[in-house]
Symmetry: C2
Subunit: 667 residues, 2 copies
Amino acid sequence: MKVKILPDNLELEVKAGEQLLEVLTRGGVLIDASCGGMGVCGQCRVQIIKGAVDSKPGVQQSEEEYEQGWRQACLSYIKSDLEIFIPEDSRVEKEFTLQEIKAPKGQFLSEQEIEGLNPDWKRESPVQKLYLELPPPIKEDNLNDLQRLIRGLRQRYGLRRVSVDFSALKKLPEVIRKKDFKCTVTVVRTRGEETDEDIQRGARKPKLIQIESGDTRARHFSLAFDIGTTTVSGQVLDLNQSRPLMTINHFNGQIKYGADVISRIIYAGRPGGLRELQGSVVRTINEVIEKLLEKTRVKREELSHMTVAGNTTMTHLLLGLNPKWLRLSPYVPVANIFPPVRAEELGIDLPHWVHIYPMPCVASYVGGDIVAGILGAGIYKRPEVVLYIDIGTNGEIVLGNQDWMLCASCSAGPAFEGGGIKYGTHATAGAIERFSFDQKVCQVRYQTIGHKPPIGICGSGIINITAELLLKGIIDQNGKVNLSSGASLAKEGKNGPEVLIVPAEQTGIGEDIVLSEMDFDNLIRAKAAMYAGYHTLLDKVGLSFDNVELIMIAGNFGSYLDIENAITIGLLPDIDRNKIKFIGNGSLLGTRLVSFSNELLDDGEKIARMMTNVELSDNIAFMDNYIAALFLPHTEEKFFPGVMKKLESSRERAKPCVPIFKGVKGI
Amino acid sequence: MKVKILPDNLELEVKAGEQLLEVLTRGGVLIDASCGGMGVCGQCRVQIIKGAVDSKPGVQQSEEEYEQGWRQACLSYIKSDLEIFIPEDSRVEKEFTLQEIKAPKGQFLSEQEIEGLNPDWKRESPVQKLYLELPPPIKEDNLNDLQRLIRGLRQRYGLRRVSVDFSALKKLPEVIRKKDFKCTVTVVRTRGEETDEDIQRGARKPKLIQIESGDTRARHFSLAFDIGTTTVSGQVLDLNQSRPLMTINHFNGQIKYGADVISRIIYAGRPGGLRELQGSVVRTINEVIEKLLEKTRVKREELSHMTVAGNTTMTHLLLGLNPKWLRLSPYVPVANIFPPVRAEELGIDLPHWVHIYPMPCVASYVGGDIVAGILGAGIYKRPEVVLYIDIGTNGEIVLGNQDWMLCASCSAGPAFEGGGIKYGTHATAGAIERFSFDQKVCQVRYQTIGHKPPIGICGSGIINITAELLLKGIIDQNGKVNLSSGASLAKEGKNGPEVLIVPAEQTGIGEDIVLSEMDFDNLIRAKAAMYAGYHTLLDKVGLSFDNVELIMIAGNFGSYLDIENAITIGLLPDIDRNKIKFIGNGSLLGTRLVSFSNELLDDGEKIARMMTNVELSDNIAFMDNYIAALFLPHTEEKFFPGVMKKLESSRERAKPCVPIFKGVKGI
């Protein structure tokens, strides 16, 4: 049996009864399925042109659509030869480049400021190239090659207690003789077989991993990777200059197995699932490395090391550790600090001497990415109380300073990544990110990423739109559509009241892009989880937002966030806007810094030990805070005085009119 | 083109111009070529039945033989389809079992005595199985799996600073949950990433390599291997009882690349040669393991560790380290103490957690086998001066006691292994090992291994025969054949004077087995090298044989040696026979003992550091001693008073007669 895929014109061999989503995944057609194929996100829409499938109706799907042959691939089982159409917005784009960060309100720190967040550390990389001119052996000094080398390292560099990787030993005799006993050795101190105890006592030992003929010190590079649930970001680092040469971002290949860590953990439980997920992220990493090397002209053999930061699930999946117990109470990881492993053992296409240093994790839902972020942001060196927020499918929060640190994770759901929202999409070309409604002239202005025809709404777009609709009275504080207001923006849709964002004739998908009450509800639940998180941590130490001197927002998502709008809907607290700063990818920053400094490498593990994890999932205070936050911006008006004032002054404007829609550059 | 091999009836596909030896080796027909195919040992004889080869005449070959189609496979290049016959004595037997050691003169120590050579050590294996009953994680104690395990080891066994093998971590979560957090971990202390310095400071750390569900302590085994140039001996050890379960000996598969370490080192220099040699000994090891497991019913997964001892070349070849510089002045090994490596990395068919501990080496020609021997024999704990001798292709000598130790290696050549002797053979079934000539009744009595028809003479046989011929005046002290004596035993052969040992009609090869003057010359040079070695070491410390309180003879070869005969030819000094003891395979003994005791493991490395290597190859004193020893027993009669007395009293007997030959059991 065959499935023909349009517009690709690709044919796949299939069997009757197979799930369409599985068949497409197997055939390399990457389908967006943020729920992991559970049937609930409605993103894997395909249109059956010819042939028949066994299928239930999808979520949020109209009868008309169903009659036109639209189905969810995850709910469809093949009955005959098929011809199907897969629209762009059902697909996972293979690569994307994050937009340049424009600092609209001075809240984005400059690259220099970000680099300086962690002050005063000694530039002494845990990965060193050391050049030696050894005396060739003679009768009176016929020490074996290895001891000659070790003696040289001691005499020339005062290096002691060096252990030697077996593979370096194998090439040792030829390599040292090639250029008359002049050679360069690469020594790493990230983590050999030291135990936690050793490291706490400062006993990080050097390990000799590579040896080259002659003097190769001029070329000395490594890699730093942030493995996000959605995005993998990789950097080539010039270790001689302690600076990144280039960054490349790429969707994590695991997206097709589900948008959030929970779907991935469930998928890993299937036979072969863990291996598949590991292979998938490794392929992404390999593609990023390939591109980085191509563009920077760094050779693979010039790479000495790799540091990675990821949340606990991503770290487990990358290392091939079973994540099953991360999501089952009492939520235990296999490990938080990991023994050394070679890149090639994981399938990463790097020379055999390259070892991986994964940033240590704290708990099941507070991972190495947060530890790296706290390190990069230098919070553990600051006297003032800082709230560090990484907004995403899994929102992570850290509250603390140089003396103490609390952390927590709140399952916000995929709304911030555009998931669980009917027309939600990743932050990709054509995603609506900004939106305004001018009641006076009855005009809607919207802006898409890359200024392409709209295909959906990205996470930051949903926040911006919701804030605007709330301020203009088109939705109320419960997230209900005010049908009596806002002209034909607010209308009765097939599944209840909805708001028209862009009409079909202007979109790239041939249909209206709308937000329904279910969508607003999803967003409210996501922001409530985040806000309840901050609140619960503050309560825990008897502080309030008044005591927070700085909010640092990390993560790719943060880069697009409009602070004012985020406060308006209650995602961020209503405090002095100048106290809120964006630091970009804090995780990548931290994992890069440990490559430049032994001191920071030790700090990373200190941070992991210093953090106290507050488990929110069965925390009663958190539940109370969460329920109180299920309102725009919050049930307690006193927490949001600024927003309440804005709401008062804008409420009257919601009068009927027939709006004009206009795509613009720059709102 | 094809070669048909008889009597195997095997056909190999070949090309014109290919070397016959290479073709046979490739086809799995193992040919004895102690010179490594250099054309000089004459052992790879084959008979061309049909077809033609391009070939030079072989060494020590008669015209008649040449006309009958006998060729050396290493000197023959294929010209057409061939049919060839390969006699038994040209082949390497794949396996052999060493004869039981019968202690004819009380000089063989009993197994108990051998075990007790190294006294008073603490039985505490560096490989331990530890059983744990961990508390399952609960909300109040949700430590990650790894830390839970490490905490358990600390609380229950006081174990600290455990490092963890990545592969053990991978299976950890499933394994501990399978039997409700009851599990057994295997911890090794042989050598993690410790450096020499760490070990000297006693900082040998435990490494967790394996984890199993439930209590598996009852089954706990490891392997000990002695990798000899000729013979590989393997043992399965029961670590709970600190005893070997079984020993299996097997010819080293590398024999076909040359009998001595020099030929192997040369072969390793060819393209792919090192890999081939490594693969070859690994195959032998795998076969021995297979048999050991089959016979002891130990399962592969019940093995936790492997220790190996070999001379420096064998150790390099096993580990895949280039041995090239071992034979070039100033003779430097790649390393003497080796970083840890997994058995599977070398191709050894053992579970991935099994690490190899190679006994440390001292110098290019004093290897881990000697260190193991000194350890096993407990010489480093004894107040009296001991001379430790391992006779073989490469003879190794150690002189010393608890305070000091000198060691040296003398290249004796392959004569003691039956090489370089026309009718020499390995100590295999049909090898003549004992011989007597009774002048009175003019009768020759000979004994073969396994009492099979004679196929050649093994090393100990050559010594016994030479001593007897010397005493009976059939050869003189120069090793020249006394044609006027000894009846038709002494005769003029095709290549000069020779002695008939067994006539054609009684042999298994259809021709006379003889010893020529060239053969005697080879033997004299071999024994002279050994004797000059002892002498040079004694001179170095101003001692003589009178100061030596014990001579310990190690090695398989030693097991067959007749002391009286060895003294007669001057291989051993003419001292009180009670001071000479055989200890069997000292190397295997030592490598076994380090598996039973952390203390002995440390001692091994102490011994390696304690030994002072005396390089003999360009030592003038050694050369003088060597030339003085090129005589039977020695040019200085005063060193051999006992032998001289015997010679005096036997000289008269050499009268002509026609001898009768008789194969017997027990001489």
